[in-house]
Amino acid sequence: MENRNKTFVEDIERTLYDIRNEDRSAYKSQAGLTEDVVRDISARKHDPEWMLERRLESLKVYNSLSLPAWGPDISELNMDEIVTYVQPDAKMAGRWEDVPEDIKSTFDRLGIPEAEKVSLAGVGAQYDSEVVYHSIQESLIQQGVVYTDMETALREYEALVREHFMRLVPPKDHKFAALHGAVWSGGSFVYVPEGVHVEIPLQSYFRLNAAGAGQFEHTLIILEKNSSLHFIEGCSAPKYNVTNLHAGCVELFVGEGARLRYSTIENWSRNMMNLNTKRALVEKDGIIEWVSGSFGSHVSMLYPCSILHGENARCEFTGVTFASKGQNLDTGASVIHAAPYTSANISTRTISKAGGRATYRSAVKVTPNAHHAKCSVNCESLMLDDISRSDTLPVMDIQGDEADIGHEATIGRISEEAVFYLMSRGISEEEARAMIVRGFVEPIAKELPLEYAVEMNNLINIELEGTMG
């Protein structure tokens, strides 16, 4: 075991994720972004008139905004080359048998149908720009729970969608929110009625197969008073030599006394620009729990935001980011305490290796009316070698009275004494280091759904293999 792979690995073996299917899409929009492209997407999706108007409005905003002046360099992204809409050659199915074979086998390899049988109450699977499969347990339907793709929601729950769509993330928020507003396609819609507890998680999986394409799925979740839900989101893509773009948008409405857990393991390939926007609005006594794992992509900018809008609203954020060679992962969280007695707990771990760059970035704001707000931030970073980089950039803006704000940050390396200690217990050096890294992320891993915790462990093992020499 000690002899395996002592040489440095250029890029990790990601066979499972890297199997790409032939691109046999039914339709692709032309590359680049023009009004014609947006109109074309809208027509193909049979948008209602108001949605087309919003798309065109978003396009105007997009053209008026410049790229963010902070964070990782994303200038290599050339929107003229990105294909914004790739329609797979498949209709949305309610049975896996009805999903085309190559697409189905992709999701088979990712374990989605299997997980559906064992541990999920509903599944959505998106392939390129459209959702190809959706299911939900009959018992949930009977309780009034809705879980479907955004296109269906737009037809069947038009009023709800119209009221909530891009209300938390308005197009003018930033350039990629505007882009999303113009070309969004696919995604999931969840509605949980008052008092209903969805005991088993729902999961949506987003797979981008086409090279040089963008994925702009929209996830809209509405939890009514005193309801609860655990929603899991997974994403991956095979690796190409051209840049792919992911600019999804997640909007979560957590009603009074409701509780939403939103778990993500993002494992995009290393040619992906992951510029994703996630935001939750939490009413009185409501709870949002984010569990977020970022492993893939070339560049990520991801800072899920929680707006604690009602008294006693709470946010728990747990995140892990692992940046390796060629990756610049800029992740973190943002919390706005907008009501009295709101509280937030942010706990993150970041790891960087082989020249990877990981940045923890957070913003905590307490508005003047939000007295007795409580927020604790704990972020720890581990650098596995001398060529990697970790930064911690917390911003706090406290305007409310009697706020209790705590921030703890550590940046360090693997302790050689700890490695020696484990080796003195018979554990090989390589395994000792892996154990320490796994231990470092353990507080996060234990929050993940089991199969994702296993996946994370595998990803860490793959990443650490061959790092010793």
């Binding site: 050689e416 200690y421 484990l422 992320v441």
Partner: protein
């Protein structure tokens, strides 16, 4: 004729990567046979902990001369974990905290590594529970992260717990009794007594003779300035306890 476990000849060692080599051990000789308990006494800074670390192959130290053999085989080329797998165990003076790894998982991983065989979870759990009871460790600690938030005494008892479960041939105990109250010393000493038999050996560093009271010590070595300057039977312990190291310095 008893079986020779450890044989150290003319050992020279210092801190690696130092220009002056910072030699700490300067021609040290030591032999330990199966069935024996040896004690090393010596003033602070005489090289006692360095000796333990060098036997264990700590990468911080470099052997510049002499040899260490275990069961007739040189340890020189072996990494720390390979030495452990051959049957050497070190109980640390300051055990490391390893966040995120529970005592049970850590011990199971090391048992598996040392024996090279898969460990049956339920059987191991029972064994662990019994050993923890014997050392009066709260069974809840099996699920706690390794040494994190443990008191000094709890860390030391956790070391002896590992000694019992890994059952090495040679146990190196580096001030396992320091910082312990009277009762805790009794518990730790009881653990060592239970471990020790005709087939294994202990090398104990201590400043406190209480841990030795219930152990039958075979050999005592006094280490000063990186060399063994005096050797004898258990009576040497009493003498040093009474008079200190002063009488040796005058020689």
């Amino acid at each position: 004729m008893s079986r020779k476990l450890l044989e150290i000849k003319d050992l020279h060692a210092g801190v690696a990567d130092r220009q002056d080599k910072g030699e700490i051990l300067r021609g040290l000789n030591l032999e330990i046979n199966a069935g024996e308990i040896h004690v090393i006494l010596g003033p602070n800074g005489s090289g006692k902990s360095t000796l333990m670390n060098v036997i264990m192959g700590h990468p911080k130290y470099e052997v510049t001369g002499g040899s260490i053999a275990f069961e007739g085989e040189s340890l020189q080329e072996l990494k720390t974990f390979e030495r452990t797998r051959r049957g050497i165990f070190l109980s640390f003076q300051n055990p490391e905290e390893i966040p995120g790894i529970t005592v049970e998982n850590m011990l199971r991983a090391s048992r598996q590594a040392v024996t090279g065989k898969p460990v049956k979870i339920m059987k191991f759990r029972k064994e662990l529970k019994a050993a923890m009871e014997e050392l009066q460790i709260d069974p809840e600690y099996a699920g706690r992260y390794m040494n994190v938030g443990f008191s000094g005494g709890e860390k030391k008892r956790n070391e002896i717990l590992q000694l019992l479960l890994l059952n090495p041939k040679l146990a190196l105990l580096d001030e396992t009794d320091s910082g312990l109250d009277v009762d805790a010393v009794q518990i730790v000493s009881g653990g060592v007594r239970r471990f020790h038999n005709e087939d294994n050996a202990c090398l104990i560093i201590t400043h406190n003779t209480r841990i030795l009271e219930q152990l039958s010590v075979d050999r005592v070595h006094v280490l000063m300035d990186g060399q063994i300057v005096e050797e004898g039977g258990p009576e040497l312990i009493e003498k040093i306890d009474r008079e200190g190291f002063g009488f040796l310095k005058q020689d």
